[in-house]
Amino acid sequence: MEKRLIKKDTLADIIAKMAGDVLVYAPVKEEDNVLFKVLEAGMKPLTRYANTKNAPKNFFFPHTEQMMKFTRTEKGAVFAGGEGKSPEAVLFGARPCDARSFVLLDMLFDQDKYKDPFYIEKRAATTIIALNCVHPPYSTCFCTSVGGSPTSSDGVDVALTELGEDYLVEFLTSKGEKLLKYFGDVKAGDAEVNQRVQIGEQAAREIKSHIPAAEIKPILDVNFEHPYWATIHQRCLACGTCTFLCPTCHCFDISDETKGADGVRIRNWDSCMFPLFTMETSGHNPRPTQKERWRQRVMHKFKYYVDNFGAIACVGCGRCVMYCPVNIDIRKIVEDISRL
């Protein structure tokens, strides 16, 4: 695999140049937030930031996505075309946890029998450049408890690591190697890779949150009815912030919109935290209160996903912990469950 060294202060320009050739999604500052956005011509991405507020899943699984068009005829509304081809794109600046989330989402959206072409095509057309964490950006980071690390390469095509005045650029996949031309010709070698390994180990040691996430599955297996579930949801506002910001949450709703004779079928993010999520027309709701919804959220991430795909559906980014308006902390819940 190819490796390069670039000067730190050239990175923003390199990415800006890329944005002239392909679609680039990158972190930019908007008011008080750092957000992933499409990098418009002339814009430069941020290269120094903790992490973005929104997860990058939006680019493969948009908050609102048009699935198909339809048009009305005398005999009824008929299909009037699907979506165009997904443009070639680069996602720059994903933290390793967020890059890993795509490996987890692939398991769901890209199964042998049931494939989701909307996700798969955008994912296939996009190259992911990750920015390794030299220091864990937040005290809430817990990637190492859920199978990741500050320098995890899962889901990464090109990995950038800050080494003093330089970035080590590692091209990890053939998709990543297609971007070689942007990164100059200063080759890096084993010494730099060793440095990266050490930085990674040091960063992992700096992680402050450790939770027994990998140990609770057998406990969840036998405690669906445990009284503990009645103790976590009381404060929950059912706002859905946790699920919307979560890089691995994938639930959606499908609905139709009509304008004159034409219309579109769209999908929108949905949330298991919303009361109507499972409400049937008859009024029957299998998850009638926030208690069952919170249990679903925990079970889905730490048991059901493990049952179905052999992986925990959480990358430890800490967004749900930081942005929950009533401070419900999934780390504490996992901790509590481990002691049930």
């Binding site: 699907g82 709703d253 949905d270």
Partner: protein
């Protein structure tokens, strides 16, 4: 890549009002394109998303049998947005179907066994599919005795009346149609489904019960079958959960680790025991 979200175009060729309250209709849908018909290979117990552009989609069990080529049938109760729009449709309308979705009644497992079909109300749809499949001349000898207990509240609420009359004429089906309360013209059985099952008392010897109906009916009927010696492996039912995608993506219809849309909707009681009771 074939897009599983794009509906297959179909034309509504026949609409039958099933009940005297007029809120349950059977829609016969014919494929607009011949190749779609060949590709739509299904088994009794599977369902499809009925797709009405501008209104949305609803998951509905396939009520026709694969032994009836040329069309699909769905029996739909008027409930909310999509089902009401369906009920307002006329013959000749174009609409869409996505499917077949889900697993099916376990046909291979049922082969060589005596089959007890128990249905209540309009939840008889995929049981009708199964029955028509089993009694088709090509298939009949693959199954043992067929016993049917089907009930509705009143005679006017029984669905598939013409077909029930046809089945009644056959000597190779033990058909028991019952109503909670008869009317002046009703000459058949009166009584609740559990009571009729007890009276018919099908042997559990080499037998499987497939059962669909309102939750109360199921609750009172199951003990009857346990008493008759049916094991939980040999009582099979079909679940309903709110659905959207139908292919295990939208995250809506899971019961425990299983997605009802793709791992179900058909489960044995033994399998349901393994799942959480969240449905």
């Amino acid at each position: 890549m074939q897009n599983p979200y794009v509906p297959i175009p179909v034309e509504v060729v026949k609409i039958t009002t099933e009940v005297d309250t007029k809120d349950i209709k059977t829609f016969r849908l014919a494929f607009v394109n011949k190749e779609d018909e060949a590709a739509f290979r299904y088994l009794p117990g599977q369902f499809a998303e009925l797709s009405l552009f501008g209104k949305g989609e609803s998951p509905v069990g396939i009520a026709s049998s694969p032994t009836q080529p040329g069309y699909l049938e769905f029996t739909v109760q008027k409930a909310g947005v999509v089902t009401s729009a369906l009920h307002d449709m006329e013959e000749g309308t174009l609409m869409g179907v996505r499917g077949p979705l889900g697993n099916s009644w376990p046909i291979e497992y049922l082969e060589g066994k005596n089959i007890v079909v128990v249905g209540g109300g309009f939840a008889f749809t995929t049981l009708r599919s199964l029955t028509n499949y089993m009694i088709h001349e090509d298939n009949r000898k693959r199954f043992g005795n067929i016993t049917i207990v089907y009930g509705a509240r009143t005679p006017g609420l029984l669905i598939y009346k013409d077909e029930l009359a046809e089945w009644g004429k056959r000597t190779d089906i033990n058909l028991n149609v019952t109503v909670d309360k008869g009317d002046a013209t009703w000459t058949g059985k009166e009584g609740f489904v559990p009571a009729v099952c007890k009276e018919v008392a099908p042997s559990s010897e080499n037998a499987v019960t497939v059962i669909c109906g309102p939750p109360v009916m199921i609750r009172f009927t199951l003990p009857v079958f346990f008493d008759l010696g049916f094991s939980k492996e040999n009582i099979i039912t079909s679940l309903e959960m709110r659905m959207k995608c139908g292919i295990g993506k939208c995250g809506r219809c899971n019961v425990g680790s299983k997605y009802v849309c793709k791992d179900g909707p058909v489960f044995t009681l033994a399998e349901l025991d393994e799942l959480t009771k969240e449905y």
